[in-house]
Symmetry: C2
Subunit: 127 residues, 2 copies
């Protein structure tokens, strides 16, 4: 179960070092050949250096707070609450780990608010 | 570890029975007092009966296929590929279980395609 514990801890460190803008420590959480994918834009970023740079260059005064983490051996999902000024978003990220407990793959989803797509008020309350 | 296995299995059954339109079997996967939330629309649906009805009334010829599941004791996340005619979507769902291995809470995210929000082509390939 070391692997579970390690990758969960790695993901917690990933978000903590991102929040702290500690790019060297963030780089330590990533495998040298990490592959990061964003299915919504169909973008892919390969390698530790480019991924650290992507995070470092991400504009805005953003802050990330973990809402929930679900982990099993070799796989972790984080649900993160992100704020940037008045904007609020969620990021859902799927991680897999390598044999050193570093992040081997990361796949992010950024869902946005939308209006209920069909008549379902008879079943629903709004919050 | 029974709980992990059970809730993972329950979530697999939830999606399989939804795909099969087997509403009685789908209802069996849900706790009587299940709470389902959609943070993007801020909708909440309480109780087994209303949740089965929500699924039953969901329009369109939709099909759901599990892409990935991550499970730990009492918590499961599914990443599901949904098609409805020519439309393709992902659903990311966070589940918690009750003591019988039924779904106690479910929180869904439905991310949609968007354009890359800032200049990052120097780091990125598109796929």
């Amino acid at each position: 179960m070391t692997t579970t514990t390690d990758l969960r801890k790695t993901v917690e460190t990933f978000w903590a070092t991102a929040e702290a803008r500690d790019w060297a420590a963030l780089g330590e959480t990533l495998a040298e050949n990490i592959v990061y994918e964003l299915p919504q834009t169909r973008e892919r970023i390969r390698g530790r250096e480019r991924n650290v740079r992507f995070m470092r260059e991400y504009p805005g005064d953003w802050h990330a707070r973990i809402e929930r983490i679900v982990a099993e051996p070799g796989q972790v999902v984080s649900w993160v609450h992100v704020t940037a000024g008045v904007e609020e978003m969620y990021a859902i990220s799927f991680f897999t780990g390598d044999e050193h407990g570093r992040i081997a793959t990361m796949t992010d989803f950024w869902p946005e608010p939308y209006e209920p797509p069909f008549a379902r008020e008879h079943l629903v309350e709004r919050y």
